[in-house]
Each structure stands twice: as C-alpha cells, then as structure tokens.
Amino acid sequence: MYHYLLRRLLMMIPLLIGITLISFTVIHLAPGEPTDMQTQMNPQASSDLQAKLHKQYGLDKPLHEQYFLWLGRLVKLDFGESFAQDNRPVLGKIAERLPVTILLNVLSLVVILTVALPLGVISAVRRNSFFDRATTVFVFIGFAMPSFWLALLLMDWLGLRLGVLPVSGLKSLGYEYMDLSGQLLDRISHLILPVFIAAIGGLAGFSRYMRSNMLDVIRQDYIMTARAKGLSERVVIYKHALRNALLPVITILGLSVPGLIGGSVIFETIFAIPGMGKLFYDGVMMRDYPLIMGILVIGAVLTLVGNLLADVSYALADPRIRNSK
C-alpha cells in the first residue's frame, strides 16, 4: 500500500510538469498580449510603454526561457506577480477569491448529495413508477434550464417583488454593525439563492448515476439471496444494496475535488460574487499569464490529488480491491 502510494505520488511530478508545459504553450499561442490591453487604443498612451511593460514582465525573453524561469519560481512555490495593473502576487489574488468559491461549491455539493442520492435510490427501487418519472422530468428540467435565466427570475421574485432574500453579493452593507447571530443570518440569506442555483443543475447527474448503480446492484444474485433469506425489503435495500451502490460515488466525489476551486463565470457575474471563475475569465481576457498558470497549476494538482484520493478511498471502502493489491 505504501509503495503504491509513493509510486503514485512520484508519478505525479512528471505528469504535473507535462501539464504545465502544455498549458504554458497553449496560452501563449492565443493571439494578443497582456501589454496590448494596457497600451492600445488609448490616445494618452505613449508608444514606448509597450516596451517598458515588456521588460517589466520579462516578455522580451524567448518563450522557453520564460517557461523555465516560471518553472524555477514555481518549484519555490512562487507563482509570480499578476500582469494586471495592480501587480499583486498571484497567490494573494487567488487566496482572496478561494474561500468564497470553496464555501459555495462545498455547500452546493452537500445539497446535491443530500437530495440526489435519496432521489436516485428511490427512483431505482420504484423503477418506472410515477415518482421515478416525475423526478426524471424534474432533474432534467433543472439540468437543461439556463442557470442565469432562472437566477434572474428568482432574484426578481424573491429579491425584488417579495423582498425576502437579498438580490446579490455575499453580505449586507451594514454587516459590520450586526451582532453575531445577525451576521450569520445575513450570510445564510445571501447564500440561499446562489447555492440553490448551483445545485439544481447538478442534481440530474448524481441522481441518474445513483439510480443506475442501484439498479445494477438490485439485479445481483446476492440481493436475491438476501431476499431469499427472508430479510425485510428495508434491510435488503438500505443495508445490502445501498452500500454496494455507493462505491462508484466515491470515484465521482474524488473527481469533484478540482471542481471545488473552479467557479462559474456566468453564475458569479449574476450574483456579484467575487469567485475563482470570474478571476480566471478576466485573467484570460487580459492574457494575464502568471494568473492563468497559477490557477491551472492549482487545478491540475487538485485533479491529481483527487484521483489519488478516489483510488485510495475506494480501496479502503472495498475489501475486494484492497486485498487484490
């Protein structure tokens, strides 16, 4: 087991370098330069500003040299400074946006799991019943609905007409003056709409997945055996079937780890939430190379770690896999 872990961890290093090399090349292939944004189409900008900025950002060096300089800093966990006019460290910019993004993603994942898993199980157990069909229709409507449109409708109804929830943002203006419970309540009321909107699109995937897993398991011989032993349907489904059906969900959860730091541009724009999606999008639009690379590297690391976690926890949960190693 430890050998396996060590080998997997070591394997991640060349993988990560490969990922950064490809990302670095691809973003530099995109036409346009960070300096164009600041100097072009501006009657006041003198022409040598371009050259000054080029030098400041090190863009005057050949591309492979830029890559190795960047990689050299990365080894020391230095992600460099953003090319945006603020010149702030990339890590600082990411750290500012990360907590909100993770909070929203974790909350919506929790909501998705608590709703989708039972939905999937019940749909499978009562296959082709009215409930099964109704939930199918419901989750696919949620999946297919443009989230920005639903968000605006809900903001208009709940925020403006009924006035029960705040329209956008993360906290109210007078937040600093509220007492602790007031602050908590304020936070929660601001999170309800975004979490709901983020979750509704994800219900379909998880509930369908759970449903088909469950159907597979119910058809197995050992379930028939359990029923033949005269166990109650409840024990058969929730003890014997569910445990086995949950196994593949672990894999999916592992794969969701990188998603926790990713945000959605549209969603964050609509709710005026300063998250990772908007940061990344703006970075790409400005060709802010260090910022783009920083986010990509963190995303790549989390993807690799997530895969590893999924494999390891799968082994922990399933003795068949554990013992075969």
Binding site: A30, P31, G32, E33, D36, M37, Q38, T39, Q40, M41, N42, P43, Q44, A45, S46, S47, D48, L49, Q50, K52, L53, Q56, A84, Q85, D86, N87, R88, K93, E96, R97, L152, M155, D156, G159, L160, G163, P166, V167, S168, G169, L170, L173, G174, Y177, E268, T269, I270, F271, A272, P274, G275, K278, L279, M285, M286, R287
Partner: protein, 537 residues
C-alpha cells in the same frame, strides 16, 4: 491621468433633468446636511489606486475622489483651480506658474507642498515608470519649485493641452520617494488630498471611502461613498430597485422601457446627456477600394445614421459628424452631413467606376466585385448591432459586406495592429480637450499607433500641429472648424453616433445640478436632507 479621471466624471454628466418624481411626500426640511451613504454600482473592479498606473474607468473614478490635481474642470468645463489657488501663463505661452493652496494636508496628516507636485511630475517622466500618460509631461522643458507653494513649468513650444494636464492626481512624495512605484502599498491603500479618504477595498466586492472633513474646499456632505462591484447590469438594476444601489448607468432599454413606473419615479431621478465619445465605421485607407474619396462618401450616404440611433440606442443619441460631440465648444455644425440617400450613393459609386456589369446584384470594377469585411470587437452589442444594420444598407446599394466579431485581444493582435482589416466599427472616448493629434496625424500611422486606418492629409497635419500650440479658444476653434470640415469631406471614417449617458440617482440626493459637464462634477455638494437620510452610521 487626472485627465482620464476627469474624463470619467465628465462621462457621467451634462444633462437635462428628466422625469422628475411627483412630489407626493410630506414637505421635509431640504437644507443641506451632513451624513448618509452613497452606493454606486460598477461593472468592473478597480485595478490599482495609484492613478499614475491606472487606465481603467473604475480606478479613475475612485482616484478622482481620493486625489486632487492642481486644476480641474468645473460644471461649465472651464478650468478652475483645485490645489492651485491661481496661476499665470506667461505672455509667450511658454511658462505656467501655479500658486498652491497653503495648509492643505494629506490624508495621513503630512503637509502638502510644491515638492509633491514636482515629485509627481518627475515620476511621470521617469523612464522606469510604466505609465500610459507620460506624453504631456515629456513636453515640459523645465519644472521648478521657487518656494514651497509655487510650482513653475516651462515648455519649448506653446502647448495648449498643457494647463489641463496639471489636473493630474498629485501623489504624496513622503510615501513614495525612493521606492519602486510598481511595488508601492499605495496601490491598495491610497493616501491623497481629495474630498474622500480611503477606508477599505474588498477585492471584487466593494471599495469604501469616507468624507475627508479636512478637505481644503470644505468637507463633502455625503459621509460615505461605497463602490459596489456588480458585473451584470441586470443584477445592478435589481439592486437599484431594492435599494442596494443609489446610482447606476442605465442602458437605453432600461431607461426607456423599464423605469417608467410610478414607484421608480418616486425613488429615482433619471438624467440624460451626451457622453464624450463616438462610434464610427473606419475604412482601411491602404485598401485600394477605399482610396477614392467618392467611394467613402457613397458609403456614408448609404448608411441611415438615424435608423442606427433609433434601433440600437432607442433614440438616446445623436448622429456624429466628426470627432467632437454636438454640444462641445469646438463642434462645427456647418460641415457636410450626408443625409441617407442610396441613389446618391449609387451615383457616386458609378462615378468611381463601380457598376453592376454582370447583373448579379453586386457592384464590380475591372471584374472584381465590391466585397469587404467589417470587423469589430466582441462584447459591445452596440457595435455588432450597428454592423448588422449597415450590412443590410450596403447590400441595398450593391456592396457585399461580411461582419466578423472577434475577441478583443485577438482583434488587436491579428487585425488592427498588422492593418489586416477592410473596415472596422470602433469608438473613441474623448474629453473637453480638442487635440486629436494622436488619432489623425500622418506621423501616427505606425504599428500600434492610433491612426491605424492610415489617414494622411497634409492640411490636417498642419492644422493639428497648429491647434495644439494656440491657447486662445476662439482662434483655436477656427483651426478645428477647418479640421472638421476636411474630415467631413474626406470621410476617412463614417462617423456614426454619439451616445447618451443615462444615469439614475436615488431621489433623496439633493444638490445635483446638471450642466454641460454632466452631474458628477459637484459630487461634494450633493447632500441628503436630515429627514430623508437612510443610513445613520
């Protein structure tokens, strides 16, 4: 820099009050009172609060409140003193002497002196400073401080934009000296001399400023200024209606169709005024098909500008005839206007040799059909919609036009910089200063320069060189009148329209006096009467 922040403020101004709310509420005491909070919505976050490095409008707006310049524009777009009490321009127009206010303090309590002004100037011309605004200051031959409250600059040649260039935000020498400007902490925590002092900046969320009671022109009335970043304008509009915002710039659609309710009129005042800036269709003059002036005139005749204004701006704009907006002092109303006339267009094209000889509905000349592509940038609906209307009108006179919409960075790199385009729809924003040297002078046609259409006219060159050397406004106007006349005859651009700024302000704010400069120029004089104040802290 300050020019930009002023420009920004100017963009939010010059108005006619519109749809005044019905006065149903009980009479309240309307005298000016201190207090309350003003919340403004912005689609973008500021990038840096060091004005020397900033070039985006969000940063400029905050910087305009935190910092001050030596001079500024007042409500009538006249130059008035800010940190300078008075100034003299020498008889030869080469030397400007500023007499600075005494007793002005930086927000951290340090005294403001001429040394700060000199330092800021030196910072702008320092080759190590990556600023976009060095140009005006590089014209200065000598800058000196005879004493603590006098600042004198001397130029080689008279330079008309000189006076207003000293509207730049003066930076604190005692906090910046000897440090690398790009690493300064002031970019996140500005210290200025302006009417508002910086409180906090939560990235992507909001920037908060508070009234500076020691402001040298007297404390502003509104206690707190909150700049909320809400990237989506629909969300902004919902926030405005729920009271989460006190100010936003409305879109023509919102202004026209969505704010006509009684409730809205009771809570908000709407204003409209011509914005500085215009949208144009520019022709690449290196392309043979556009080198004939008659062709360009014909293209302008083929476009119905009013149709574009009605369709795209819902009527909230005016036809542009040149690079200046119709209510500017420099505007020449007597230039040729090219009213929509497709027959005239066809006739001019025929004179230039473009006729439909093969009967396919597309004009041709020497066997080549009249086909070209209009490029514009993604993300600007006004431009792409205008492009579609123009495309149809051109087709009607027998010109086959394609429209391509390209992401901004790619657009600059692949199309504009290498001159790899036929025609483009773009816009310029400007200000009260009429100097157009950078955009129209034939020396500015190099790569990355602003005369990217390659316009060359010796008389225009001469006028532009002369215009920036003359201080007298009436004499200057003669020069720029002629300049506009030539542009109108040459039609290197089809000048399309000047849009209107359409701000909505919560009706509890008093003291708003729309002028040629808009509404935001006297923000420090805005107030909320005691009984109407919404925020007590």
């Amino acid at each position: 820099m300050m020019r930009i922040s002023l420009l920004m403020i100017l963009l939010l101004m010059a108005c006619t009050p519109n749809d005044q709310p019905a006065g149903l509420e009980a009479p309240v005491d309307k005298t000016a009172a201190f207090g309350d909070t003003f919340i403004e919505g912005s689609i973008g976050d500021a990038s840096t609060l060091l004005p020397i490095l900033a070039s985006d409008s969000a940063s400029s707006e905050i910087n305009g409140l935190v910092y001050s310049g030596l001079v500024r524009y007042d409500g009538d777009l006249k130059v008035v003193g800010e940190l300078a009490e008075s100034w003299e321009i020498s008889a030869d127009n080469l030397t400007i002497t500023f007499h600075l206010r005494k007793g002005v303090k930086w927000h951290d309590g340090a005294p403001f002196t001429a040394a700060d002004v000199l330092f800021t100037y030196q910072l702008y011309v320092d080759p190590e400073t990556p600023t976009a605004y060095a140009e005006s200051y590089l014209q200065v031959k000598k800058a000196e401080t005879p004493d603590d409250y006098t600042f004198r600059v001397t130029y080689d040649q008279p330079y008309a934009p000189a006076l207003m260039s000293w509207g730049f935000s003066v930076l604190p020498k005692h906090l910046l000296e000897g440090k690398k400007i790009t690493e300064s902490q002031l970019a996140r925590h500005p210290i200025g001399t302006g009417p508002y002092r910086f409180v906090e900046w939560q990235g992507g969320e909001k920037i908060v400023l508070e009234a500076n009671h020691d402001y040298f022109e007297g404390s502003p009335y509104i206690k707190r200024f909150v700049f909320r970043i809400i990237p989506d304008t629909s969300t902004q509009f919902l926030e405005l209606q729920t009271g989460g915002l006190d100010f936003m710039s409305l879109s023509p659609l919102q202004y026209d169709r969505q704010t006509d309710t009684l409730a809205f009129k009771r809570l908000f005042n709407k204003y409209r005024y011509l914005a500085f800036g215009y949208t144009y269709l520019g022709y690449n003059l290196k392309r043979p098909m556009f080198q004939d002036r008659r062709v360009r005139q014909a293209l302008t005749y083929a476009i119905d500008k009013q149709e574009i204004i009605d369709g795209v701006l819902l009527g909230y704009g005016q036809a542009a005839t040149g690079p200046y907006k119709p209510d500017a002092w420099v505007y020449n109303a007597a230039v040729p206007r090219y009213a929509y006339n497709p027959d005239k267009a066809r006739q001019l094209l025929a004179e230039a040799g473009w006729v439909d000889s093969d009967g396919d509905g597309i004009l041709d000349k020497n066997g080549a059909p009249f086909q070209f592509t209009i490029v514009t940038n993604q993300g600007n609906d006004l431009r792409s919609k205008a492009g579609e209307i123009i495309q149809r009108r051109f087709r009607e006179v027998g010109i086959d036009v394609q429209l391509r919409i390209i992401e901004w960075a790619t657009f600059l790199k692949e199309f504009i910089n290498p001159g790899n385009f036929d025609a483009t729809i773009l816009g310029w924003s400007g200000g009260p200063e009429p100097d157009q040297f950078e955009i129209w002078h034939s020396s500015k046609t190099g790569p990355r320069e602003l005369n990217f259409i390659g316009y060359k006219n010796p008389e225009v060159d001469m006028l532009l060189e002369k215009g920036r050397r003359i201080f007298d406004q009436d004499k200057r106007k003669l020069i720029y009148d002629r300049f506009q006349q030539i542009l109108a005859e040459d039609q290197p651009y089809t000048f399309l329209f000047v849009g209107e700024a359409l701000p909505a302000v919560a009706s509890r704010f008093y003291g708003i006096e729309p002028t040629a400069a808009g509404i935001r120029y006297n923000f420090t004089q805005w107030y909320v009467p005691q009984g109407l104040q919404k925020f007590s802290r």
